[in-house]
């Protein structure tokens, strides 16, 4: 019996090793991972130099991981093992709770908040000091604010973040969103908030800036299910969601200009609906400088929004009260050169950033 067991073990493992090995050797390279939303490593260049300096070997390791046959399924298996067999609280900082995938945002980083306030106040000092601009700022709590602590996950100290951020934004008016929002304002599988849930939040921001929002929208659903950025990262078989966008005649009539690519774009870029990240339908995703001009506005008021990706979906809801809105993402454009593009006079200015960016503010320039 023992001999039989040994033979079966040897044969089984030999077949397994040979099969997987052949798959590894002869499977072609994939360029891009839809699930992880990133380019995969290709076979590194094989040359005398790359071998002798070890570059080929170190990159080959990453290549074999990225190009492993059935990578996404194996990542799902690992995720399941980590969360359900080894009962880890999170897998690569991601957790799945009450149908939502969350990411551990911990700890609170005071140096990041200090950097953010330094960047924002230097923008204010440079461009807004001797103008008639009215300056506001707000913090968008991330999903973890509603999900993490009450479910036993590590969460940053949001109260301290708010306190220290507000203390650093001297002379600007704070718009508190922490009490206006709730968990179901967010996608279950993504970092972002859902636009169809935002009219109330937009109303609070507008009211704080002395405006009132009355527009009505048609809520339109994308045909394909939306899998957010956390979905692919966690790699568990979580169902897709429906991504909606709010539209009306006024928004359709807006003229939107993208300075990065020097081209006209639409409020909702439907080409992105079937792309890697459908959230990018809102104002075409990450762009450094955009203007929205609203020809049907009853006012000549202008708004300048310093924003991150959360701003893409809420700013269209503020359009009705402004003739022109300028969106600036100083993660992609150096704030020191903004004077070349924007004339700061008497606009409303809003710094609107999520806790995710504020607590990791090294990208703010």
């Amino acid at each position: 019996m023992e001999q039989r067991r040994n033979r079966i073990t040897v044969i089984t493992m030999a077949i397994f090793l040979l099969t997987v090995s052949l798959l590894c050797w002869f499977k072609g390279s994939d360029k891009y991972s839809e699930a992880e939303r990133r380019y995969l490593k290709d076979l590194p260049e094989l040359s005398w130099n790359t071998v002798m300096n070890g570059k080929f070997m170190s990159e080959f390791e990453s290549y074999t991981q990225d190009q492993f046959p059935g990578r996404d399924a194996l990542r799902g298996l690992k995720s399941g093992m980590a969360l359900y067999v080894f009962a880890g609280m999170d897998n690569n900082d991601l957790y799945y709770r009450d149908g939502y995938i969350g990411k551990i945002e911990y700890p609170y980083k005071p140096e990041a908040i200090a950097h953010a306030t330094k960047v924002f106040t230097s923008v204010a000092d440079k461009y807004l000091k001797d103008t008639d601009c009215k300056v506001y700022y707000s913090i968008i709590p991330d999903k973890g604010y509603f999900l993490a602590e009450e479910n036993g996950y590590l969460a940053m100290d949001y109260a301290l973040l708010e306190e220290e951020f507000c203390a650093g934004m001297d002379g600007m008016t704070y718009i508190d969103l922490f009490d206006v929002m709730e968990l179901d304002d967010f996608y279950q599988t993504d970092t972002h908030w859902r636009q169809e849930k935002l009219p109330e939040v937009a109303g609070v921001i507008a009211n704080a800036m002395g405006k009132e929002l009355n527009a009505e929208y048609e809520c339109i659903a994308l045909d394909e299910p939306f899998y957010g950025v956390y979905h692919g990262q966690l790699a568990l078989p979580v169902a897709g969601e429906t991504l909606y966008y709010l539209n009306n005649e006024e928004l359709v009539g807006c003229y939107v200009y993208d300075y990065t690519n020097a081209q006209e774009i639409a409020i909702y870029d439907m080409d992105k609906a079937n792309g890697a990240d459908p959230y990018e339908i809102y104002l075409s995703g990450p762009l450094s400088l955009i203007t929205i001009e609203n020809p049907s506005a009853d006012t000549d008021a202008e708004l300048i929004v310093f924003r991150d990706s959360f701003g893409s979906s809420i700013v269209p809801l503020l359009v009705e009260e402004y003739e022109k809105i300028t969106l600036v993402d100083i993660r992609y454009i150096y704030s020191g050169v903004l004077g070349n593009y924007i004339e700061f006079e008497d606009q409303d200015v809003l710094f609107l950033y999520s806790t995710l960016v504020l607590n990791n503010s090294e990208t703010l320039k």
Binding site: N6, R7, T9, T12, M57, T64, Q65, M81, P107
Partner: protein, 488 residues
């Protein structure tokens, strides 16, 4: 190249196994040697030359010792060879330590050499030393350079042991036959000395090698790496607590155990697949009742190497008591120093020397009477020792030990500590269970029951396959995770 990496498991190993088993007898060692040099060069293409030079020096020394056997010249050659090999080790591993300390003591500013440490140099140097000394002591010289190079450079044990001594493996270096689909060959002569049989391949050996390799890989990938993550989290934490310091101490001790014993299992398993029988390196050290016993169960090949090549030549315990204790201190200082060129490694070794002397003086008898006390004492001593071992320097070691005993001015527990305790509870529990022979004993007991064998026929390959799949998933998802003992 790492055993726990996709390039090794699914690119290198299948090709080597295929070539090895289809190669004729006379070429098997050549295949193994070429594969081993490739394996080593994969990580350090230039430094492979240093290893080849060391092997050549060892080979020539062996021939000269044999040629001048029973003459004074043989001793001189042996001493020159030992000095050369140790000189190479000192140059690459310890030179900056000596220069740094010299600068500190004498206020000089001699620049550090900053030489990259060749991977596994401590291991292969000790193997070459053992070869040279064994030949001098009367072991038959290896005239075939391929065989000797295969012994020293054999990739399963090249970079993290076990330290296989020449005399333990000399008989297996020649090849006697191809793969035999049975337990033993019909033509085996039971009365024949093993040394005259040479290396052969049976499904029993290959299957047990596979088992050992897969379980070793599981120790590394599923336990050691996760425990290592916990240690990293502790290091980065801004909210340490007394409980977190203890969690770290436990996690690191288990991490290094599963990392190193997992590697040893893989090495022994691979060795068996290739027809070699390496010495055991670990035997559930955490169940020891004394530090003396702990060191009979932990890194056995290193302990026995120092015993046979340093401790006994110094006189062992057959000398006056003060010399005996001095011998213990010398051996343990060297053991610590072998692990790394830093003071914390030396202190770590001396820490054990103090405990061993204390045990030999009187404490061993107390421990034999009070077993529970013994286990408690060993665990405490080992936890503290590994905190010293893993510290960046002695200041860090004192800080960590102080933290464990409430001197770090941190709370007893924090939310973060509880989170990670909860998150790693299962891993820690599995590691604790796995560090004792409970599972092994249960399996052995079950396997001996009549009728259980037929279930094992199906269960074993299935378990191995599932484990391989899970570990592959972890490796695909994970990043670079080197073994701890590579740096030694």
């Amino acid at each position: 190249m790492l055993f726990s990496g996709i390039p090794f498991l699914y690119y290198f190993l299948p090709v080597v196994l295929l070539l090895y088993f289809i190669a004729p007898k006379c070429l098997k060692n050549t295949v193994l040697l070429i594969a081993s040099l490739f394996f080593y060069a994969w990580g350090e293409p230039k430094i492979v030359l240093i290893m080849i030079a060391s092997i050549l020096a060892g080979y020539v020394s062996g021939l000269l010792i044999e040629a001048f056997r029973r003459k004074r010249t043989a001793k001189i050659v042996m001493i020159i060879s030992v000095v050369l090999q140790l000189g190479c080790l000192v140059y690459f591993k310890y030179m900056d330590f000596f220069i740094g300390n010299f600068n500190k003591v004498f206020g000089t500013e001699i620049p550090l050499l900053k030489i990259a440490l060749p991977v596994g140099i401590s291991f292969y140097t000790f193997q070459i030393l053992s070869y040279t000394v064994d030949i001098y002591r009367g072991e038959k010289v290896q005239k075939n350079p391929i065989n000797l190079a295969t012994y020293i450079a054999m990739f399963p044990q090249l970079i993290a042991g076990p330290i296989v001594r020449y005399k333990d493996i000399a008989s297996e270096l020649p090849v006697q036959g191809g793969l035999w689909w049975g337990k033993t060959r019909k033509d085996d002569n039971p009365g024949k000395e093993k040394s005259s049989i040479g290396r052969r391949f049976t499904t029993e050996d290959v299957a047990s090698g596979i088992r050992r390799f897969v379980f070793g890989l599981a120790k590394k990938v599923l336990l050691a790496n996760q425990l290592g993550e916990l240690c990293d989290i502790f290091r980065m934490s801004q909210e340490k607590s007394v409980l977190f310091y203890w969690m770290y101490a436990v996690a690191f001790a288990l991490h290094i155990y599963f990392d190193f014993s997992g590697y040893s299992d893989m090495a022994i398993g691979l060795g068996r697949i290739f027809g070699f029988h390496f010495v055991e390196n670990f035997n559930y050290p955490f169940i020891s009742g004394s530090v003396t016993e702990f060191w009979r169960r932990w890194h056995i090949s290193l302990g026995s190497w120092f015993r046979d090549y340093v401790y006994i030549p110094l006189g062992g315990n057959r000398v006056p008591k003060w010399r005996w204790f001095m011998n213990i201190f010398i051996v343990w200082m060297l053991t610590g120093f072998w692990h790394g060129a830093a003071w914390n490694f030396i202190i770590w070794g001396l820490f054990f020397a103090v405990l061993l002397v204390f045990e030999k003086l009187c404490f061993l008898k107390v421990l034999e009477k009070h077993k529970i006390l013994g286990h408690f004492y060993v665990i405490l001593a080992v936890l503290i020792s590994f905190v010293i071992f893993n510290a960046s320097d002695m200041g860090g070691a004192f800080s960590d030990i102080g933290g464990m005993f409430g001197f770090a001015k941190v709370p007893f527990v924090t939310t973060e500590t509880l989170y990670y305790l909860r998150s790693y509870a299962v891993i820690l529990t599995l590691a604790l269970i796995g560090s004792a022979p409970f599972i092994k004993n249960t399996v052995v007991k079950l396997a001996s029951k009549p009728g259980f064998g037929k279930y094992l026929v199906v269960a074993e390959p299935l378990i191995l396959l599932v484990l391989m799949l899970i570990m592959t998933a972890y490796l695909v998802d994970g990043s670079f995770n080197p073994f701890l003992y590579f740096r030694f």
